[in-house]
């Protein structure tokens, strides 16, 4: 099997056994990118030279007999909203098309400390606003399982790169489902950690109270490994949680006997694909057969979560994105005065979806509308959170579809924002309540992957990893490899 088709943990074994070298591995993945990225278009920026240098350094360490970490020498990709010192970080926006941060995100620093090889920066919906990566200010990414369909979003470049063998692992960010939904569409594993588990320092903010960085990987084992590296308190992020990080690989246990799983009936919304529903029901039957205790539960405020999200996230975004004004960094269009410069700069360099959300958020926060929109949305958020609190009094994890359908065709929903927003209906409540969730492959519909979401309690990553691992070990869905139309 080609090297780029392996998982990180498999490749680590080969590296330390000196069956392969990190340079050889990196070249294999770079070769894969050369071969398929013209079709997939997962990367905005490629850092092949530094990647090879990083790989070379790891080989030297191994040669010297030094112990190396599990991601050492393993090539991966970072979503392009994660700041990388000296490397362009664009957020897939024309406004940051030439922005080179003078600092690393905390996660980038942590990965560098573990000698991970960084291949480049992955495409995304502009400023992480979208669910298809069609909102990239540069070009759309294509789903490796069917190039005519979207990879999901907003971390579509990261998910597509992992699915296509253009990266062994990747980091994405998830504000309303942006790790889990593309992972589901691309048939890979995506984990959104508990809010505060991973430092947001250096993650370009979309909606600060919802954003969280997490891994996109080929299997649950790799997800646990990446989580071990990126998790933990960071003095630079006041909202990061100051508690110890467990060894998540200890949760890679093929056993869910006695685990209480809940199915919230409200998640089976109108418009849900029958194949998706069938796959989830089948998965639940299987989990029960493996020893889980099943319970149907109710989370009555679920239907309001999407509306609340589209008040809160744009409100924060309208403030977070105010700094892109052409004054001291980023794109600038000159004007006759400062106001004209602001207007021209922002009109020209922001895409339609970003403008739509800035307007929504500005409106929601405006005097006279604040109470009716933003404040009400905050109250709904509290109710959604309480739904989770109550659910977790009864069960250990919740099982839902990750998205109502499988990947849709490019262009299918671009003129219908509401239809696009509905793709996040199962993932958004998780962000509003701050709990962790993982999406793993659980079947196929018409050849396209289906994702199952397992939601855990706050800081309950270990439990969802164990449930996901158990399901994965008893199935083969994750072993399929996107064909890219190859025979």
């Amino acid at each position: 099997m080609e090297l780029f088709k392996h998982t990180a943990s498999q490749l680590h074994e080969k590296l330390v056994a000196k069956e392969i070298s990190a340079v050889e591995l990196t070249k294999a993945v770079l070769g894969r990118i050369d071969a398929v990225d013209k079709d997939v278009q997962a990367y905005i920026t490629r850092t092949s030279e530094t990647a090879l240098a990083q790989a070379q350094a790891v080989d030297s360490k191994i040669q010297r007999g030094e112990k190396v970490s599990v991601l050492a020498g393993i090539p991966g990709a970072l979503k392009d909203n994660i700041c990388t010192k000296g490397i362009k970080t664009t957020c897939a926006s024309k406004i940051l098309a030439t922005f080179v941060p003078p600092y690393d995100a905390t996660v980038a620093e942590k990965l560098a400390a573990e000698d991970a090889v960084i291949l480049g920066k992955a495409n995304m919906d502009e400023f992480a606003m979208g669910g298809s990566t069609e909102n990239s200010g540069f070009f759309p990414t294509h789903n490796p399982w069917n190039l005519e369909t979207v990879p999901g979003g907003s971390s579509g470049g990261s998910a597509a790169a992992v699915a296509a063998g253009e990266a062994i692992w990747a980091l994405g960010s998830d504000t309303g489902g942006s790790i889990r939904q593309p992972a589901a569409y691309c048939g890979v594993v995506g984990l959104k950690p508990t809010y505060g588990r991973v430092s947001r320092y250096g993650l370009v903010a979309y909606a600060s109270s919802l954003d969280q960085i997490g891994p996109i990987t080929r299997d649950v084992t790799d997800s646990a490994h990446v989580m071990n590296i990126i998790s933990g308190y960071d003095a630079k992020d006041s909202t990061s949680i100051n508690t110890g990080v467990p060894d998540y690989t200890k949760s890679l246990v093929n056993n869910i006997k006695g685990l209480k799983i809940g199915l919230p009936k409200e998640y089976f919304v109108a418009g849900m694909d029958a194949e998706v529903e069938r796959a989830i029901n089948k998965a639940i039957e299987q989990l029960v057969a493996l020893g889980a205790e099943y319970k149907e539960i109710s989370m009555p405020h679920t239907e309001y979560a999407l509306s609340a999200y589209y008040m809160i996230a744009p409100a924060e975004a309208s403030s977070n994105l105010a700094r892109y004004d052409g004054v001291s960094f980023g794109h600038r269009v000159e004007g006759n005065d400062i106001i004209e410069m602001y207007k021209k700069t922002r009109s020209e360099a922001f895409g339609a979806e970003v403008k739509r959300r800035i307007m929504l958020g500005t409106y929601a926060l405006s005097s006279g509308y604040y109470d009716a929109y933003y404040l009400k949305a905050l109250k709904v958020r509290t109710l959604v959170k309480q739904d989770f609190d109550k659910a977790f009094e009864q069960v250990d994890v919740l099982i839902t579809p990750t998205a109502p359908t499988t990947a849709f065709k490019l262009g299918e929903k671009t003129n219908d924002p509401l239809a696009m927003y509905l793709q996040d209906v199962c993932t958004i409540p998780v962000n509003l309540s701050g709990v962790p969730a993982i999406s793993i492959p659980c079947g196929f519909a018409a050849g396209m992957p289906i994702g199952m979401q397992i939601i855990g309690k706050p800081l309950g990553e270990e439990t969802i990893i164990r449930a996901a691992y158990t399901f994965e070990q008893n199935n083969d869905y994750h072993k399929g490899f996107a064909t890219l139309g190859e025979v």
Partner: protein, 478 residues
């Protein structure tokens, strides 16, 4: 018509922390442009603020000293508006849950004590500074931004509309400044912009409960401009009302050179700040025990110090009030007294010669070239009779410019008082001999003539003769 003047003040003060409110950059004033900056205070993408704990401590100190209630749970909010000196285009401030509320401060105006209630105190970040290419904004075709000040911590202290005159406004501002200085939380240098003030002013007929329409006056950058700006605005509003007009709710700016206020923006043009809770910072939870500890360790404040000076040294309320209105002056006083200076004499010198020299050079006592020790040494020379009071003033003058000790100057210039009676007698006799007409006048009952003779003696001795001895010896011989 005679109106009641209603004023509320918003005081902004920069806190003298070493580092900025949300990052580790220096707060040093006067550094080269854009050198005290980092990704956080420049608002670059992806960075996050972290609260400087010292700012919270200073805010609690100020809150306690201004008799406020410290809220156990407060939070930061974003105040959104576009301006090029604000890199994020929002200011991180506190909106509905500020650190301190419901305080008050007693001030004295014209011998009467008056209570000014304080609505709230909140923490926020300062903005940067625009440097325009031309002489004025309108004549400039470009501007540069200096971000050194961006993120310097500020406290905003908001009073209730309890102030009734420009004098009260000034007294209140001076007292707040004194307290902040005593607390050592701010330099309060209005000339460097570390203390700034906006005034909300309205008028209403006496006896009317409802407030009149207010105008907010900005750019009041000195005590003098606070007083003048308010005085001007009151007259402006009076004239409008007397003419049967209506005051427009607006923001006006004080023009120090022209001595007028001018409209900046109307209510309709006012910003909608679209406040939202700052999602990048966690709420500030203050343990009551921490407040109690800060309260217990507060330094002596101006009122207590004034009382102490009255009780311990018998200073008048007026003198004690003047000396304690500035912490630095009060410190100078205390150091001088500790150095065995007579309290009343020190007080007189501080309010006399020292203050006269400081004012004429436009400096504060912190830059006084004569140290408390040097001053008390000078006073000791008077006490011992080595020099007279009059000579002492000459010596002080010399100390001010040369920075030498009093004793050195007295020796170098031969200013030691002549107290040797035989030496004085000789001069007295020669003056009597040389001025027979004055002697005759005196003997004829013209008391004034003796003044002339004393003057002649002092002239000959260059003022060094002991005046008491001169008087006695002269009268003996007449």
């Amino acid at each position: 018509m005679d109106y009641e003047i209603v004023i509320g003040l918003e005081i902004h003060t920069e806190l003298k922390t070493n580092s900025k409110i949300f990052c580790g950059c220096s707060t040093k004033f006067g550094s080269e442009q854009n050198t005290n900056v980092c990704p956080v205070c420049l608002g670059l993408p992806g960075v996050l603020p972290v609260i400087n704990e010292k700012v919270v401590e200073f805010a609690i100190k100020a809150g306690v000293a201004l008799n406020c209630e410290i809220l156990p749970f407060s939070k930061f909010d974003r105040k959104n508006y576009y301006y090029p000196d604000l890199p994020k285009n929002f200011q991180t401030s506190q909106y509905d849950l500020p650190i301190a509320v419901n305080g008050h401060l007693d001030i004295e105006v014209n011998g009467e004590t008056k209570r000014i209630n304080i609505t709230r105190i909140h923490m926020e970040e300062d903005a940067g500074k625009l440097v325009h290419s031309g002489a004025t904004i309108s004549s400039s075709d470009s501007a540069l931004v200096d971000y050194n000040r961006t993120g310097v911590p500020l406290l905003e202290i908001v009073s209730e509309p309890d102030i009734r005159s420009a004098e009260e406004a000034r007294a209140y501002l001076e007292k707040v400044k004194a307290i902040l200085e005593y607390l050592d939380v701010s330099d309060c240098k209005m000339e460097e912009g570390s203390l700034r003030c906006d005034a909300n002013i309205s008028l209403r007929p006496h006896g009317q409960a409802a407030l009149g329409t207010k105008a907010e006056i900005k750019n009041l950058n000195s005590f003098r401009s606070v007083q003048r700006g308010i005085e001007y605005e009151v007259i402006r509003q009076e004239e409008i009302l007397d003419d049967g007009g209506r005051v427009i709710q607006e923001t006006r700016t004080w023009d120090e050179n022209k001595g007028i206020t001018a409209s900046m923006r109307s209510k309709e043009q006012a910003h909608d700040y679209r406040y939202l809770p700052e999602p990048d910072l966690v709420p500030i939870v203050v343990d009551p025990a921490r407040v109690a500890e800060i309260r217990a360790n507060l330094p002596e404040l101006p009122d207590a110090r004034r009382q102490r000076l009255m009780n311990d040294y018998g200073l008048s309320e007026y003198d004690a009030g003047i000396i304690t209105s500035s912490k630095a002056v009060a410190d100078y006083f205390d150091q001088s007294v500790q150095n065995n200076g007579d309290a009343k004499v020190v007080a007189n010198w501080l309010m006399g010669e020292v203050s006269k020299h400081l004012n004429s050079e436009g400096i504060t006592i912190l830059d006084c070239p004569v140290s408390p020790k040097q001053l008390t040494e000078l006073l000791a020379l008077i006490e011992k009779g080595t020099i007279s009071n009059k000579i002492a003033k000459t010596v002080f003058e010399e100390m001010w410019t040369s920075r030498k000790d009093a004793e050195v100057i007295v020796k170098e210039k031969g200013l030691v008082q002549i107290s040797d009676s035989s030496e004085i007698v000789a001069i007295v006799e020669s003056v009597i001999a040389a001025n027979p007409q004055s002697v005759a006048d005196f003997k004829a009952g013209k008391d004034k003539a003796i003044g002339f003779l004393v003057g002649q003696i002092m002239k000959q001795t260059k003022g060094r003769a002991n005046p008491d001895m001169v008087n006695t010896l002269l009268r003996e011989r007449l």
